[in-house]
C-alpha cells in the first residue's frame, strides 16, 4: 500500500510533538513518553498521579478530532495487516517497551533530546529491528 510523501505536514506535526514534549516538562516536569504515561495509568502512584495521565491520554485521543476542526479532514488510519498480527504485535510492543523502558516518544524524542546514551542505544535498536522486521515480512516471507 503506497502512501504519499508529506514533508510539510510531517514536519509541522513533528514540531507540535516537540512543543507538547517541552510543555509537559515545563508544567509537570515529566517526560512525554507514551510508555511511561500509560504504564502509570495501569499502576498509579496515587489519585493525582493517575489523573494527569488520564487527562493527557484523553487529550491525545482528542488530537485527530481537534485537527479535523482545523483542516476539515479526518486522520487516515490504514492498517495493512491482519487482526491476528495486530494482537501478536500489540503484545510484543507492550512487553518490549516495558522491558526497554520506553518507545519512540520517550527514548526517540525526549531521551535523544537529553543526549541520553541509554536512549540512543534503545532507539538505534528498535529502529534497526523495526526495519528488519518490515524487510522480512514484506520481502522475505511476503515477497
Amino acid at each position: 500500500m503506497e502512501t504519499a510523501f508529506t514533508p510539510v505536514q510531517s514536519l509541522i506535526g513533528g514540531v507540535w510533538i516537540g512543543i507538547a514534549s517541552v510543555l509537559l516538562m515545563l508544567t509537570l516536569g515529566r517526560i512525554m513518553g507514551a510508555t511511561g504515561i500509560v504504564a502509570g495509568i495501569l499502576a498509579p502512584a496515587g489519585r493525582q498521579d493517575w489523573l494527569w495521565r488520564v487527562a493527557l491520554v484523553a487529550g491525545m485521543a482528542s488530537g485527530p478530532l481537534a485537527l479535523m476542526l482545523v483542516t476539515g479532514q479526518m486522520t487516515e488510519v490504514q492498517v495493512p495487516v491482519s487482526r491476528a498480527t495486530l494482537i501478536i504485535g500489540g503484545l510484543a510492543v507492550g512487553i518490549g517497551v516495558t522491558f526497554g523502558a520506553g518507545c519512540t516518544s520517550g527514548h526517540g524524542v525526549c531521551g535523544l533530546a537529553r543526549l541520553s546514551p541509554r536512549s540512543l542505544a534503545a532507539t538505534l535498536t528498535f529502529m534497526a529491528v523495526t526495519a528488519l522486521t518490515v524487510y522480512v515480512t514484506r520481502h522475505v516471507i511476503g515477497g
Binding site: M1, V15, L26, P64, G89, A92, V93, V129, R138
Partner: protein, 148 residues
C-alpha cells in the same frame, strides 16, 4: 487548571501525531520499507520533534522546577543492558509487524477505528505482562536464565 493544561498538551501531541502521519500504520511501515514503497516522511517528524525538544529542554531545564510540580522527574538510569536492548528489540518486532507504536496508537484511538482498539487492548495486556516480568526479575535472588 493543571488538568486542563495537561489535557491541552495531550491535544497538541495527538494533533501533531495525526498531522504527521504517525497514527497511520501504512505510512509508518512504508518509512521502514526503503527498498519497497518507501515514504521518507517520518524523518521530518523525528527531525522536527527532536529539534524543538532539544532546544526547549535546554531552556526549560534551566528553571528551578516545573510550574505545577515540585521538581523535574528525569530518568536517572544510565545502564545499557540486555533488558534495555532486548526490550527495545521486541518493541521493534511489534512495531514492524503492525506499524503502531504507543505514541502513534493512543491518538489514533480518537478516529474510532476498530483495529486501533484491538492493537491497544493487546498492547495493554503486553504492558501488564511486561510489568509482571520486570517485577519477577527484580526480586532478590532472581536471575535471567542467561548471562547479561
Amino acid at each position: 487548571m493543571r488538568l486542563l493544561t495537561t489535557y491541552l498538551i495531550g491535544v497538541i501531541f495527538g494533533a501533531g501525531i495525526a498531522l504527521a502521519g504517525m497514527a497511520n500504520p501504512a505510512k509508518v511501515l512504508n518509512f521502514f520499507d526503503i527498498i519497497g514503497t518507501w515514504d521518507p516522511s517520518l524523518i521530518l517528524v523525528m527531525g522536527g520533534a527532536l529539534t524543538v525538544t532539544f532546544v526547549g529542554y535546554r531552556v526549560v531545564l534551566r528553571r528551578p522546577g516545573p510550574v505545577f510540580a515540585g521538581g523535574f522527574s528525569l530518568p536517572t538510569s544510565r545502564v545499557i543492558d540486555l533488558r534495555l536492548l532486548g526490550g527495545s528489540a521486541l518493541f521493534g518486532i511489534g512495531w514492524g509487524m503492525t506499524g503502531f507504536c504507543p505514541g502513534g496508537a493512543l491518538p489514533a484511538l480518537g478516529t474510532g477505528n476498530t483495529d486501533v482498539f484491538i492493537f491497544c487492548a493487546a498492547m495493554l495486556v503486553g504492558l501488564m505482562l511486561g510489568k509482571a516480568g520486570v517485577t519477577a526479575l527484580s526480586r532478590p535472588g532472581a536471575s535471567l536464565p542467561f548471562k547479561t
